[in-house]
Symmetry: C2
Subunit: 256 residues, 2 copies
């Protein structure tokens, strides 16, 4: 099977012009089929504050009311998505920016409110692999923002790590998928205060151990949960890495 690289970028990378240009340059150099998935939470929080909306978070996940949904749709699907697409076009990468609503690419369902009501937050239900593989075979590179829809006219906010993971799992039927979660560190750190303490490999057992010890915490937990979900579900290779990890194999490899 042909290789498909799925890169998820997020965190401070999206707010740092220099880092963003590095991401786009490296990503556009990947010759084989590729998909970019991006977050944008920090920019969304900034805009929320400017508009007098207090960002609400629970365990690293955003609580999305109607006004916040409008802000994240503007920032993710508008500002960041189109900026990335235009930068990629400049590097001869024929990118197409999409949300899950576009071409019905990601059908989600509103998360039921049990212990916690996250508002307009969607859990991925189905991926339109037909249209996606069609794009990839034509040399078109999808750039996904973290917005999905429920098929009944409702847009939903969905974690970008989860989208990357769900795409990787669904497309593993057609490609040998390399999934890379790329952020401002070079990988998962054994010591959060030491940027050089990157785990070359992280197993499920070690992950559980470090979660107990508290060395791995907060924002890393949903990211790693998504990474392990993908690895468990037949995705060829899953990495947590920095910008340099986009083209080489630097970073933390996830193993079971």
């Amino acid at each position: 099977m042909e290789t498909l690289t799925i890169i998820k970028i997020g965190g401070k990378l999206l707010n740092d012009e220099l880092a963003l240009n590095q991401v786009v340059t490296s990503f556009s150099k990947i010759k084989k089929p590729k998909i970019l998935v991006h977050g944008g939470g920090k920019r969304a929080s900034e805009l929320c504050l400017k508009l007098g909306l207090e960002p609400q978070m629970n365990e690293g996940r955003r609580i999305t009311d109607q006004a916040t949904l409008e802000v994240v749709t503007m920032v993710y699907a508008g500002l960041i998505n189109k900026k990335l697409v235009s930068l990629l076009q400049n590097f001869d990468c024929n990118a197409i920016g999409v949300s899950g609503a576009d071409g019905n690419l990601i059908h989600a369902q509103k998360r039921p409110s049990r212990k916690m009501d996250y508002g307009f937050v969607g859990d991925v239900k189905n991926i339109n692999t037909t249209l996606l593989t069609n794009f990839l075979k034509k040399g078109i590179t999808p750039v996904f923002c973290a917005i999905t829809h429920d098929g009944n006219g409702q847009l939903l906010n969905t974690n970008a790590d989860t989208i990357a993971s769900a795409l990787a799992i669904a497309l593993s039927d057609y490609f040998e998928v390399d999934l890379k979660f790329c952020f401002e560190k070079e990988g998962v750190l054994a010591d959060p205060t030491d940027d050089k303490s990157v785990f070359p490999v992280l197993s499920k057992v070690d992950y559980a151990l470090h979660q107990q010890k508290g060395t791995i915490s907060e924002g890393m937990i949903p990211k790693l949960d998504n990474a392990f979900d993908a690895k468990k579900a037949k995705v060829n290779k899953v990495m947590i890495c920095g910008v340099y990890g986009i083209l080489d194999q630097k970073g933390t490899e996830i193993c079971l």
Copy 2:
């Protein structure tokens, strides 16, 4: 040749939930290939004001500095585009929301500053008809926002009427194109104070006459210039109409 309907919606239609639902319902009923093009200037102006940016206009055209470009990208490509796409998906219309940067669908060039510097405003240079006809043949409905790019990583703000007209002209090589500029009135009015005074037909000569008299003015002028450009350039049928004109032939037909 097969018929292609291109509907441009703008003005107050986008700010009125009821009218917007009528637009989406009617548009989704068009069985043959179709494209939707939308503006969003009023919503963009509202967000500009909330963020302390004073909207600047000249002869019905927006002057776009860097901060305003970010706002229009958010509102057009994010908020309005994704809302329309999700509403259309609900009516089983497989819409895909795009800017000109996506799939390099509309390549524009920054307008040279002669008498007036419009800032990051783009004039349409080239349309990627290959990818567009490919979408249309697959039953995918493109929904265009009024953002284009210059191919060098710069997004540009482009008048939505101009985009609709340019798409109609470029696609007339492949389809018999019906182009409809749809707004809050039922057509071009002979008397701006009387909503019932719709011209059934408007010729170039009558247009020039009414411009001189001042009955046709302001926002209608760029719209009508685009309509006449399209009619001159082999587009099958060009109409200025209201919501009811989407499915029937009500409104003002443009003739040379």
